[in-house]
């Protein structure tokens, strides 16, 4: 079929490229064209999808906040962990809910549970920024969360009104507002 693949692999610079990857990161376009062998070797086919960032700018160093400097270079599956004595990983974070450690993420490219997003928030932020078009969700909100967000919004308004009412020494309104806030707090607990 398409025999005129004139693009040459960016890695080995010899074989024709067959895998074309591109990604927008921080407003810049990252592109890499690889031949089959190199794409396998580089793990571009790996569904983690951010192998590109790793490939082009050494994601290991970018993300790794812990002091394991040498390990950043040994990206790739099963790399790193020379095993010599006490590894500094022990000082690295562990998810209190599922026991997942930062080093596990390096191995698999997956997280352990939903709480990991909180545990590793700091380390994930730059990675997410690289991978996605935006940094915050603007799509669907589950109904339960939407109700909660609405209640939070209403609560904030009521509290502002209460402060105003107290300032204005309008105690009748303030009492009514206080009652409404208590009522809402009760709903929150449910």
């Amino acid at each position: 079929m398409s025999e005129n693949l004139k693009i040459v692999c960016d890695n080995c610079k010899q074989k024709p490229a067959e895998v074309f990857y591109s990604q927008i990161a921080e407003g810049k376009l990252l592109k890499v064209n690889l031949c089959k062998e190199c794409s396998k070797e580089k793990g571009v086919e790996d569904p983690t999808g951010f192998a590109l960032a790793e490939l082009l700018q050494g994601m290991g160093e970018n993300v790794e906040v812990s002091p394991v400097t040498g390990a950043g270079k040994a990206a790739g599956v099963g790399g790193g962990s020379s095993g010599g004595g006490e590894r500094e990983e022990t000082t690295s974070l562990k998810c209190p809910v599922c026991g997942f450690a930062q080093s596990d993420f390096k191995k698999t490219g997956r997280l352990g549970c939903s709480e990991c997003y909180t545990t590793f928030a700091e380390n994930l932020a730059p990675l997410l920024k690289q991978m996605h078009k935006g940094t915050s969700h603007s799509g669907k909100v589950p109904a339960r969360q939407r109700r909660q967000q609405e209640m939070t919004g209403r609560m904030n308004l009521l509290r502002q009104d209460l402060v105003k009412a107290v300032r204005a020494e309008n105690y009748e309104d303030a009492a009514s507002l206080r009652d409404q806030i208590r009522l809402l707090e009760g709903q929150f607990d449910n």
């Binding site: 398409s2 074309f20 983690t48 997956r110 939903s114 078009k133 935006g134 940094t135 915050s136 339960r144």
Partner: protein, 380 residues
């Protein structure tokens, strides 16, 4: 519903060639990734955890109105061949087919909604429709998702959206894709330009079975790469716009080929027909590549339109597991190639030899009639 219902049901719901622009857009798919709060993701969970998650998710999924009389199985209860059939129909992923205890699949009768349990995420829900119907597929999926969130506590963060095992899916957890048949762009050697342009705007182009697979049969999957920062509707809207552009490029390329290189085109399609109707041994790749040319031939008027269905059915039937099923016994690669050729020859009996005169007549009629508007379209 039993497995036999799926395999023997003839053309599966989504593959009936009735969708809009089906001559170019084979199928439209949307998937959503969802997880249960605080339960370890399947890849990190111990077997007991996975089973525990499944006990929550499976009943909830089976209770969906859409899943009335659904096909619902634990992965360990399906044999290798059955799993492979589901992969070939794009109803489960290759990764999911490798799973056993603690994973399951639930799909509706029409095979338009398929939910993988404990794949990479606790739920991977997919809607698939024939033709160019991304919005329909999303609507079906969104409805199922809204029903499920009443029963299941989905992991969601106000800032990051839906939380997924892989950070590349966080946010909407959505991947929308269209499977495109682009033989003319391949023949005209313009496909790489198109792929590069698509990549440039942040969309991914993949082969028949998704990530890391080869483009066979001139089939290409186009999908969004990123999931955070855009609304679902916008992701689908952007993808649709790109797909529309590619469709018009492909149509244009078909016209140009017919105009500039009719002899080459007649030759290629005629040869494909000759081999398919006379060969006695054929690999899956060869079959798909040649069937692609017949499909193009149908669109250009070489074959009657009824042939399209035969070709589309064959595209599924010539695949390994479907052949094995039809053969009812385990076959070696050589035996499969023989059987495949038999199946193809038999089915293409419905499809007469390519008719050049008809194509020429149709083109002559077109030139007298709407020649100018076609030129306008091309100029856009």
């Amino acid at each position: 519903m039993k497995f036999s219902g799926i395999i023997n049901g003839g053309a599966s719901g989504w593959s009936q060639n009735d969708g809009p622009q089906h001559d170019i857009v084979i199928s439209s798919r949307v998937r959503l990734a969802r997880n249960i709060q605080k339960f370890p993701f399947p890849g990190w969970a111990k077997k007991a955890d996975r089973v525990a998650t499944l006990e929550k998710t499976k009943p909830a999924v089976e209770a969906l109105p859409e899943m009335d009389d659904a096909f619902s199985e634990n992965l360990q209860d399906l044999n290798v061949l059955e799993k492979q059939v589901l992969v070939e129909r794009h109803l489960i992923s290759r990764e999911h087919a490798a799973k056993g205890v603690g994973s399951a699949v639930v799909m509706n009768r029409q095979q338009t909604l398929s939910i993988m349990l404990n794949e990479e995420d606790h739920l991977r829900m997919q809607a698939i429709r024939s033709g160019f119907r991304l919005r329909d597929a999303f609507a079906l999926l969104d409805k199922a998702d809204s029903a499920l969130e009443k029963a299941l506590d989905f992991a969601y963060d106000p800032r990051l959206g839906y939380l997924t095992a892989c950070p590349t899916n966080v946010g909407t957890g959505m991947r929308a894709s269209a499977m495109l048949h682009l033989p003319a762009l391949v023949l005209k050697e313009e496909i790489n330009k198109v792929i590069q342009a698509v990549n440039k705007i942040g969309l991914a182009v993949r082969g028949l079975y998704g990530e890391g697979t080869e483009a066979m049969g001139n089939l290409f999957q186009i999908s969004n790469q990123t999931t955070l920062g855009q609304k679902e509707e916008d992701i689908i809207g952007n993808l649709s716009k790109v797909v529309e552009k590619i469709i018009s490029h492909e149509r244009n390329a078909r016209e140009v080929l017919l105009e500039q290189k009719p002899a080459t085109l007649f030759d290629q399609i005629g040869r494909a027909y000759g081999i398919l109707t006379n060969a006695h041994s054929m690999t899956g790749k060869e079959a798909l590549n040649l069937l692609s040319l017949i499909r193009l031939g149908v669109d250009l008027g070489f074959f009657p339109t009824e042939c399209l269905q035969a070709v589309d059915e064959l595209c599924t039937e010539v695949q390994q597991a479907h052949l094995q099923k039809a053969g009812a016994q385990k076959l070696g690669a050589e035996e499969r190639d023989l059987l495949r050729a038999d199946v193809v020859r038999e089915k293409l009996k419905r499809c007469p030899s390519p008719d050049l005169a008809k194509v020429k007549a149709r083109r002559a009629a077109n030139e007298n009639g709407s020649g100018e508007s076609a030129a306008d379209d091309a100029g856009k």
